[in-house]
Symmetry: C2
Subunit: 563 residues, 2 copies
């Protein structure tokens, strides 16, 4: 009997299932009903929903049986965990599949890094799908180790779990018809492509959609979301650690229904996931905000699968993979049973980390003089932080000037920021200022700095900034909070300068300690290091800093420190 014949025999009731989940209330994602039925599983696939017997029976006892959650768009690396630890973190929360854009590691290690991550996630009970990183570098203003070429993308898109082209972040390039960007969209496999179009509206949005880009996770407002839906784009509602858009966009679900809307987490701190949940937290919050449970669940299950063309995921129905959650209620959305392909995920093997993914931080020595910001007047451009968002404001502020150099002045909440090239030890660095952080003393630094992941450092003194840079070079990457030439807290990230090799409890504790240390140094926002990491991302408005200098993202050009 072939596996398909066996599946049909089980579906007919002629053979016992491997497992029957009996007596649950099963969500039909297709009709948005709760059906009182058994679910028969064979070879990891649902054979039938009805009345069934099996070799193993698990009593659902009236609990809710729903499909495993699918994260429609996320960056594995942001969680700072190796993939096996990531699986240990999110599987118990009901996330059974993610669609990852591995562009962080792609910036650090090129396509080799992506292939490694693909291989390292092959055998996990957390199913990891990928999109091929479309924008390495994210813009011409960023310096990854090397750009991903067309050939790299083609090779990636031939792999089995690579579904298409990842978020096309160079939206000005696409809209303006840049041949280099359009060429990527015409690759085989790139018919399926994720978008990234912060703030884009009107005719520009029509152009972006006309290029065949049919999703966006950067909508912040109802109006942005509405235009995207009308233009035929899927609305991926993002609830990242520092870009929480769920509440703002839920009115669209109330108005139009959950159609063509899916949930994603984009970038999540590990401690945020530990504290607030993962995709399940989005479902919980949506339901708490008044969305029907079935509708909220659709956006976390069937809809991510539909958007990504995952034809056998996202439903509890015959022929679908048996990724099943048993929920005790429709409030907390913390499953008390998680089945991946019909089995309780057991021992997850440790990911192997080859030596070449560890040796990635190369920095030309930086001393305080290298961080000097000579000015002719008193005014400087300053990056204005926007609480809980990845967008920033482009401000002009009067700096404290000492000996013809603009310096950090916590008194006026204006502190220095630097981005140091860290892949090829070129010594290239960019200098800017940040307004609104609250930082009073010490320095914070990180080799997680989107998207090129050069080293970003902010500080109240140049000395603490250079100390922080040196410490990260020593660690081979990580995040660190320093004060007065002393480490206050740190989280080493030796793998590509992005990932820890420690168990999740350690990483969560370290991440939490770093955030607390930053708050101890005066930082006001909830997510100091994520905020810092996004100050280097030159494709999100309005003012950002890379190793090449300040980037006016709205005009898409480098600008001088002095206005």
């Amino acid at each position: 009997m072939t596996p398909l014949q066996r599946r049909l025999a089980v579906a007919r009731g002629d053979e016992p299932a491997d497992l029957v989940v009996r007596g649950g209330r099963v969500l039909s994602v297709f009709t948005r009903e709760w059906l009182e039925a058994d679910v028969a599983v064979v070879d990891g696939v649902v054979a039938g929903v009805g009345s069934y017997g099996g070799r193993e029976v698990r009593e659902a006892g009236g609990r809710y049986v729903v499909p495993g959650f699918i994260d429609a768009h996320m960056h594995l690396e942001s969680v700072k965990l190796l993939v096996d630890e990531l699986a240990r973190l999110v599987l118990p929360l009901g996330t059974t599949a993610v669609v990852a854009d591995p562009h962080e590691i792609a910036n650090v290690l090129g396509s080799d890094g992506v292939h490694w991550l693909h291989d390292a996630s092959a055998a996990l009970p957390l199913e990891v799908f990928f999109m091929a990183p479309s924008c390495v570098p994210a813009s011409v203003f960023e310096s990854p180790r090397r750009p991903l070429a067309l050939g790299d993308l083609e090779a990636l898109m031939r792999r089995r779990r690579v579904l298409g082209l990842a978020e096309m972040m160079n939206f000005p390039g696409v809209i303006g018809g840049d041949p280099a960007e359009l060429e990527k969209l015409e690759l085989e496999g790139a018919e399926h492509v994720d978008g990234h179009a912060p703030g884009v509206l009107g005719a520009s949005l029509q152009a972006y959609a006309a290029a065949g880009i049919r999703s966006d996770h950067e909508a912040l407002t109802v109006e942005e979301g509405r235009e995207r839906l009308r233009a035929g784009m899927w609305l991926l509602i993002r609830e990242a650690s520092m870009a929480r858009n769920l509440r703002a966009l839920l009115p669209l679900v109330s108005e139009y229904g959950p159609w063509r809307i899916a949930f994603c987490t984009d970038d999540r701190d590990p401690d945020d996931i530990a504290d607030n949940g993962h995709v399940n937290g989005m479902v919980r919050d949506a339901v708490a905000a008044g969305i029907e449970p079935a509708d909220a669940l659709l956006m976390a299950t069937l809809h991510p699968a539909e958007w990504h063309g995952l034809r056998t995921h996202g439903a509890v129905a015959p022929g679908y993979v048996a990724d099943l959650l048993l929920l005790p209620d429709l409030e907390s959305f913390v499953p008390d049973v998680v089945l991946k392909r019909g089995r309780t995920p057991e021992e997850i093997p440790r990911a192997e980390v080859p030596e070449w993914v560890r040796q990635t931080v190369r920095i030309a020595p930086v001393d305080a003089a290298d961080l000097a910001a000579p000015v002719t007047g008193g005014a400087v451009r300053a990056i204005g932080l926007v609480e809980d968002q990845v967008v920033t404001e482009a401000l002009v502020r009067d700096a404290l000037v000492v000996d013809g150099r603009a310096v950090s002045d916590p008194g006026r909440d204006l502190v220095k920021l630097a981005v140091v090239e860290r892949h090829l030890a070129t010594g290239r660095l960019g200098i800017g200022f940040v307004s609104g952080s609250g930082l009073q003393k010490g320095a914070l630094a990180s080799t997680v700095a989107h998207d090129a992941h050069n080293l970003v450092v902010v500080g109240a003194t140049d000395e603490d900034m250079t100390f922080a840079i040196a410490r990260l070079a020593e660690l081979g990457g990580g995040i660190v909070a320093v004060e007065g030439g002393r480490v206050v807290a740190e989280c080493p990230l030796p793998v590509a300068g992005l990932l820890s090799d420690q168990p999740l409890e350690v990483v969560i504790a370290q991440s939490r300690a770093c955030n607390e240390a930053a708050h101890g140094l005066g930082w006001r926002g909830a997510t100091p290091f994520l905020t810092l990491a996004f100050l280097a991302l030159s494709v999100i408005p309005s003012l950002k800093l890379t190793d090449r200098g300040l980037v006016d993202v709205d005009r898409f050009e480098l600008v001088a420190l002095e206005p």
Copy 2:
């Protein structure tokens, strides 16, 4: 400037569109709203919906702008027209694309016939997509010219406009795990496969869906439709000339919304289309029955496209093909402008008909003695007609017996039926009886006889039956009504014995005349020849007749004339 660059320039408003449809109420199929906006078209594609200027402007004047209609499942051959004439018939009704299962011609001419139809429809303004015929023969009880082999299907599915595997009619084979059927489902390209599962419910339906078959157009009742939706199958609501399921299934749209529901016409007589419309008629009837116009339109536009993975069809939105209809109101759904890829369809070239598709009817001479039905008792199995449905009842009736032979007796509404093999002149024929036709005199015959398209003939006398057979052999195929050795009406179908080579007005008149002639001979149902044609289809319950004899479809076996 590349075409994509040009499209983006138009979308941005930097270049004039080829055409702007100005001032309409544009349906957003994604939000189910009517937007007051212009539609900019360039190179046959929608560049943007907003405020646009163009080289040519067409004033919509407040009319409704909707996507062209897409028939989710149909058999081109049933309309009896060459594809160019079919386009002339349905384009003015707003059908701009169809997904055709060419299994009629496949039964007559093998894959050669399908490739010919594919080629013949390549340049039409009516876009014709195909599914590869999965079941030639439809069952082991039918005799096409030759079976389609796996290799034929593979070759077909490599063609550009072939989207997947057509309706898997051998549902007992699939459900039972027949290796020959499962092999087809595992072909490359067969991930997308249409279903055909009349009356299948419960565990059998779970098995059918578990095989990966995710649509069905055979649901007749709300309960059947509901089970299909819950099992993750698309519900293709069919409104064929003799199988009208719309009204019965619309309550599902009211209950669940239009999601995963699409419209299809399956088999339509040309005169039915002329009188009642095509897909547009389904939208009209749905709206008349109380469905919201936007919901009804979704089932005729976006949803067929979604089911078939036609990523750039079914919407008026950037990047979608500019198949646009201008509707004066939301009642009649007869467009007063139809644009295919942004242009009014003009002169449609005549399809060329090579000689080899004409020479298809080969019949060993049949005389009245060949039609004799010797019996030992008086009871015979009889096919019970069900008004306006393709299903039949399996009855037992007392026949009029003369000289030990059961004969037609219009007095008891029980007349003789025969199916004569017509591809290879084997002389093989099957004999049965029909109850409930009303036929009083003469005979009706057709070389359109699903799916093998052998010759089917029903008659009040053996003599008129043999005369009708001889006449069709003479014509090289067609349909004919005869009485007393004289043709009352006929519609020659010399192309494969399925299609006319005449203009649509002629075919419509002939088809109408044949149906009227049948009514003149006493036939009661609305669609005499379609009904006749389906009496030979051995995959629709309950009792059918092929050249091999009577088929009990429920038990899926041949049965004797005498019970």
